[in-house]
């Protein structure tokens, strides 16, 4: 569904040498870091911010900002892939592993629903946010995570499309059912593996 070629138009994309095998199908690499949002940027003051693990209406464990900062944190470098087709390679993040948070909270369930300031949600199987695959990230590229990119903290799950890396995350709700979150409700894939190009429900 496209028209005549626009002479000389390339956009902002590039195909870097050595990136073969790192770019999932249908993606292009960008040096930019596009800001995508479904709503206004929330601004919860840090002295009111908490991250919680909840289940069945109960809070299993909650951390204040200070308490989160006191937990062991990791610096990781990962490629990220947005369903809108841009990929960004070698992005550096610092955060607390979700394994650490779940271990301290106890409780168990097959799925989690991440919930965020502003009402955004996204669903994931618990095995995709454990085993060193997910973080609550508060630093990007060596500095504090900017609010437009999800600061003070966002979920980081780089092996799935980046809509699963929920911005302004405030907690994970442990669930028995895989209930669709915001974009999943509107037609996006429940799982979102970029290597299988699972963009939309039914892919």
């Amino acid at each position: 569904m496209s028209g005549p070629i626009s002479r000389g138009f390339r956009g902002l994309r590039r195909t870097p040498a050595g990136a073969e095998g790192r770019v999932p199908p249908g993606q292009y690499v960008t040096d930019d870091f596009p800001v995508l949002s479904a709503g206004p940027t929330p601004h919860t003051p840090l002295d009111q911010w908490t991250f919680s693990i909840t289940q069945g209406g109960e809070t299993e464990k909650s951390w204040t900002w200070g308490e989160l900062q006191g937990l062991p944190a990791e610096t990781v470098t990962r490629d990220i892939h947005c369903v809108t087709r841009w990929s960004k390679l070698d992005t550096e993040w610092r955060g607390v592993s979700v394994d650490t948070l779940l271990d301290q909270a106890g409780g168990d369930a097959p799925y989690v629903l991440a919930f965020c300031d502003g009402g955004y949600t996204t669903n994931l199987p618990i095995e995709d946010v454990t085993g060193g695959q997910a973080w609550v990230a508060f630093s990007y590229d060596g500095g504090p995570l900017e609010s437009e990119h999800g600061g003070p903290a966002r979920l980081l799950v780089p092996h799935l499309y980046f809509w699963k890396s929920a911005k302004w995350v405030r907690g994970l709700d442990l669930r028995d059912e895989n209930e669709p979150g915001f974009w999943e409700t509107y037609g996006y894939h429940m799982y979102g593996d970029p290597w299988k190009e699972q963009r939309y429900a039914g892919d």
Partner: protein, 86 residues
């Protein structure tokens, strides 16, 4: 990143509804605010287009294009109306 308004999705609305819709009157299903679609708050830089009430921020419309089909979720609206063509 600032939000736009309903003017920015004039083309999308024609694609979805086969008619000009920016002057249509919308009623928010959450707070009851009545506004032309052109005055709603629009977030386009996303996996889909999200249209919110300017008064209470509730999601009124979400448009996602899935495999060439425009899916419009209007469940946040109480109503949408515009005059019949002359």
């Amino acid at each position: 990143m600032d939000a736009l308004d309903g003017n920015a999705i004039g083309g999308l609305l024609i694609d979805a509804f086969s008619t000009e819709m920016t002057a249509a009157s919308s009623t928010c299903g959450t707070c009851g605010a009545i506004r032309p679609v052109a005055e709603l708050v629009v977030y386009r830089q996303a996996p889909g287009t999200v249209v919110r009430c300017r008064t209470c921020g509730s999601v009124l419309m979400v448009f996602v294009t899935v495999r060439g089909v425009i899916c419009a979720d209007l469940t946040g609206l109480a109503s949408l109306s515009q005059p019949e063509p002359a």
